[in-house]
Each structure stands twice: as structure tokens, then as C-alpha cells.
Amino acid sequence: MLATTGLGIIRGERAVFTDIDLAVEPGEAVVLRGPNGAGKSTLLRILAGLLSPTVGRVTWDGAAIADDREAHGRRLRYAGHGDALKLALTAFDNLAFWARFEGTPVEAVDDALDRLGLGALGMLPAGVMSAGQKRRLGLARLALAPRPLWLLDEPTVSLDAASVDLLAGMIWDHRAAGGMVVVATHDGLSLPNARTFVLEKAA
């Protein structure tokens, strides 16, 4: 279980947010909402262990993630604003790299491409794909090997309605298998009985 206690961060000598207490149980989805600059991306990066909070701490099953960042990295999937694709490589090679990098079987790549409706495009260089296809290819990493925690930052940007439904389905399956999701999103993505967590702009 992922939990934060009294989380606060100062960036540019300004408090982005303070006193965030958030707990995510297995099977649960949390949707982060709030105006621009309220720190949705910042919070996701803290949960991923990319950023250290100024005060407070993030724990996984009671142990602080800062104590073992590598272990925490192995239980999460983070999807940020970039798709993390190399345009010179094919769709398959892009995914295969991430599979090898995290030490999971490369055989899962074909399934992951199929899952996102990219099965026919596997041999195409990522550079010739449309923005929506690139985003789907980036999200295909979610389907590589199961990991308990998904942290998604605006995953629906440049996706069409059908692809958004696809993503919603993936999140549903992930939760049904006991996975957790924290997602920052403005609109579109409807997640049944998800909890909404509103970030206020710090004064």
C-alpha cells in the first residue's frame, strides 16, 4: 500500500503544496485534480521517487521509499509528459528496450503492442507515427509486465475516444488484479468508483 504523510514541497522557494496525506489501497484508483500549477505532476514525481519532498514522507507498506529507491522503481510504472520513444527505432524495438532494461521477458512486447491496437505497426519506426500512436506506444509499456503501482500524468493527451476507452479498460484490468493507479487527468478518462483527490493551489 502506498501512503504519504504530511507531504509538502517547496520549489523555486514557493510552497507548491503542503500537508498531503494520501493513501492508495490495492485495487484503488485515485484521480488527481486541480488547477494548473497545483502540483499534480510534482506529486506524481514524488510518488515515483524522482523528486524528494521538502517535508513529509512517502511509504510503501510502511517503509519509506527513500530508503530503497531501486526497489520502489521496480514496483511502479511512471508515464510522464514525454513518450520516452526513440524515433529512429521501430515500435517493437522501443518497447523491447524497456522490457530488457527492466529485466522482463521480451516476448511480452507483441502482446503489449496488440493490447494498444498497434500490432500491425510493430516494424514501423516510431518517427513516422502520429502523435496519438506515439502516445499509445508509450502507454504500451504499462502492458509489458505487471507492476503494482501505475503513476500516470495526463495519459489521455492526444488520444482519440476509442484509445481512451482502451486505456480505461487496461486500468480496470490492472485494478481487478490488485493494482493501484494514481492518475492526473483533466477530462475524458472515466474510471468507475475512483477516488478524486483535489489539489488546491497553495497560498
Binding site: R11, G12, E13, R14, G37, K201, A202, A203
Partner: protein, 242 residues
């Protein structure tokens, strides 16, 4: 003691109490050292009156090296113990160190011209000082290239530490290089012993330079701390207006 000083407000108050004394002492030591060195210390039998350049050249060179060590230690303290004043001190020291480095280089050149008959020789000491100057320039450039103070301070600290590991290697390599390439006719700047009549004014001036360093360092640290407060307030205003 250190933790008490870590509080910037307390530090500012202490600095305000110390600064008038430091400033006065600096000026007095300068006058004493310079008058003694220029007027009363004897001229060298070999180098004549040019030896008086030593009274500014040597303290400047010492402080140029001291400045980098200070910066590296402050950076280490800032990175490891996250002491809030350490990176302010490191940033404030850099232009001072660079300034003394420049003074040491130019006065060395002005001393060298009558002695060696040339403005610049690729002597190991001068070359090391030149590389040290470049290291200062890089450090200052990195500070000014990164806008967010948190990232800039940590990046600069990493650079200072990597530089500090490299400085002895650079020094050694330059010494090695100069024995390889240098014709041995170059005169050594320092004799085996320095006469007390020269040593005393030199020490007084060295103390004056050190006092100057501390005084201006405190001014710069104060300015930096207040500047950060200003930055925080303006950003806060901007955030509220948005």
C-alpha cells in the same frame, strides 16, 4: 554552534555585529602591511625593488587557493549535511577566489617581465594558477546558467567537488609537464629562506587579505540571503496573481 548559525536570521545578526570590526581591521592591516612592505622592507640584492610585488602577489595566490578549498569544503557540507548557509558561502566565495587568481596572475606577470625578460612563461606555478582561474570561471558560469537556486547550488557543489578531486591531479600533471618541457634556466620565485625583514610585512599583508576575504564574503552572503528572500516573495506574489 554550527546548527545555531544555520538559522539565516541569526547569521545575519551575527554578521551585522562582526562586520564593522572586520572592515576596520582589514583597512588597518592593509595600511600597515603595505606601508611596511613598500617603504621599510629592504630591496632584494638580486631582484631589487621588484621583490616588493611579492607583498601582493603571494597573499593573492594563497587566497586564490584558499578560496577554492573553502568553496569545495562548503560545497561538501552543503551536499552532505544540507546546511542552508553552506551553498550561499560557496557561491559568495567564487568571485573572490577568481579575483585573487587574476591578481596573482597579472602581478606574477609584472614581476616576471623584469626578472625573466618576458611577460609570461609556461612555468608550472603560473600554469596551475591559470587552470585554477578557468575552474573558477566554470563554477561561476554554472551558477549563472541555472535559474532555480536549489538546482544551481547542488549542481555547482557537484562541480566544485569534482574540480577539487581534479586540482591535485592537474597540479601534478602540470609540474610533470614543466619538468619535461622547461629549460632549467627559469629562476625560482622563492629563495630557500625568506629574510624576516620581508617575511613580517608579507604575513601582515596576508592577514589583511584574509580579513578582506571574510569581510566581503559576509557582505556577499548577506546579499545572497536577502536576494533569495526577495525572490521567494516575488514568486509568491506571482503565484497569487495567477
Amino acid at each position: 554552534m554550527l546548527t545555531r548559525l544555520a538559522n539565516p536570521t541569526r547569521f545575519l545578526r551575527l554578521a551585522d555585529r562582526l562586520l564593522p570590526w572586520l572592515g576596520g581591521l582589514t583597512v588597518l592591516a592593509f595600511i600597515a602591511g603595505t606601508v611596511w612592505g613598500l617603504g621599510y622592507a629592504p630591496a632584494d640584492y638580486q631582484q631589487g625593488d621588484t621583490v616588493r610585488i611579492m607583498f601582493v602577489h603571494v597573499p593573492a595566490a594563497w587566497l586564490a587557493m584558499f578560496g577554492y578549498s573553502f568553496m569545495a569544503i562548503a560545497s561538501f557540507v552543503g551536499l552532505v549535511w544540507k546546511h542552508p548557509l553552506a551553498d550561499v558561502a560557496a557561491k559568495a566565495a567564487a568571485p573572490l577566489g577568481a579575483g585573487f587568481c587574476l591578481v596573482a596572475l597579472v602581478t606574477g606577470s609584472l614581476w616576471g617581465q623584469p626578472m625573466w625578460g618576458t611577460w609570461w612563461v609556461w612555468d608550472a606555478r603560473l600554469t596551475s594558477m591559470l587552470v585554477l582561474f578557468f575552474l573558477y570561471v566554470g563554477y561561476i558560469a554554472l551558477w549563472s546558467a541555472i535559474d532555480e537556486p536549489e538546482r544551481a547550488s547542488k549542481a555547482a557543489a557537484i562541480l566544485a567537488l569534482v574540480g577539487a578531486v581534479n586540482v591535485p591531479i592537474v597540479k601534478f600533471s602540470v609540474d610533470w609537464w614543466s619538468t619535461l618541457h622547461q629549460p632549467s634556466s627559469v629562476m625560482r620565485l622563492d629563495g630557500p629562506t625568506i629574510d624576516p625583514s620581508i617575511l613580517w610585512p608579507l604575513l601582515v599583508n596576508a592577514i589583511a587579505f584574509q580579513l578582506y576575504f571574510v569581510t566581503v564574503l559576509l557582505w556577499r552572503m548577506k546579499a545572497e540571503l536577502i536576494g533569495r528572500r526577495v525572490r521567494a516573495l516575488t514568486l509568491g506574489l506571482a503565484a497569487r496573481e495567477a
